[in-house]
Point group: C2
Chain length 233, copies 2
Amino acid sequence: MVEKVYGVGVGPGDKELLTLKAVKVLKKVERIFVPVSKEGRSSLAYYIVRDIVEGKPVEELLFPMIGDRERLKEYYQRAFDSVKSSEGEVAVITLGDPTLYSTFSYLWKLLKRNNIPVEIVNGVPSPVACAGRLNIPLVEGEEKLVILPRGEDLERYLGVFDTIVVMKTKRLGEILKRALNRGERDKYLIGIVSKGFWEDEKIQWGGIEDIDFQGINHYLSLAIIKRIKREDI
Amino acid sequence: MVEKVYGVGVGPGDKELLTLKAVKVLKKVERIFVPVSKEGRSSLAYYIVRDIVEGKPVEELLFPMIGDRERLKEYYQRAFDSVKSSEGEVAVITLGDPTLYSTFSYLWKLLKRNNIPVEIVNGVPSPVACAGRLNIPLVEGEEKLVILPRGEDLERYLGVFDTIVVMKTKRLGEILKRALNRGERDKYLIGIVSKGFWEDEKIQWGGIEDIDFQGINHYLSLAIIKRIKREDI
């Protein structure tokens, strides 16, 4: 049976944003588990660590993107069984950080319930990385931040928070245009980083009319919506 | 005049949570600037990188914790002048990440206004690091997260968000006890990490009655408040 499981965040996409601890742990473990959404699909998380773990056994864990919770549970259980039945210390890698909307969280629960030791190795999460790419602070001083997995109910938070992060940008254009009346559109700036740090990275920053919501990879995009302050002008 | 300024996040306190990029940049720059709140006060950010930057010129930037905005602006201006008048490429270090409630943000504005090139080197921010220490996910699936600099108006967000992070825990005990009626107290779990990763780290996790709000270092503490879900029980 497995002795210990490291949940390792590999950061947002830049190999240099790996932590020293992630490198150390990935080098010492017996086996690397890589969550994938489809069998054989190339994993971005694995791409980041590929050179470091060369020659080490790598095993895919299948977490398909389906809505059916009962069927999903079967996949979690199967992933858990694979991890549990491995030897020594192992690592499960995840893009960004393991505590923030990570596929690792499902496995984490099963590991804890079965008293298998887990240690988290934090990574740089995508919201701060995207703010870095946009060359803007996410929040400062007394500002408040909200992070939404998707933006469907975005209008509840506009006007209340200084900064809103939307993790998945699918349909964000529609939602924003519906949520913001013409007079309000000037009050916000929107940053979208698509495929941050990758060769085909696309960075946009401007008013709602300036953003091209088409043609971005919505699965790997993140939006930062900032209320404009007087001092910014 | 300075050629380029790196805003470098050195992570939450564990030297191993530095990124490879932070190490590379800190080794190559001509000079390291360290924000401090009092002259001569030992800086935790500097402690993290001390071994890496050995022998390199290190200069303190004074950002006192005072409310007077006009006087503060003088300090920002003085810090900006020091950075601007240095030679070659330099780094300004900051605990956690430079985009999330960082002292760097004040300097950042002045640098951008003066067209001095800035590059952000992201670090692991404290909210995800504290979730890691508590061995809990911050958010998963469709959950929503709010991050507050302080908790004064915490009651507006309880019941609306799955997870609330409070960056500074001063008076949090009072605020939570006032905000939560007796019947509601069982609905939340509270995690407080004080001096995370340091030798005298203190980790607490439990119901509001279980937490010792006294005797923690409030400047270096962070609270995570989670609404209990049926599936957790």
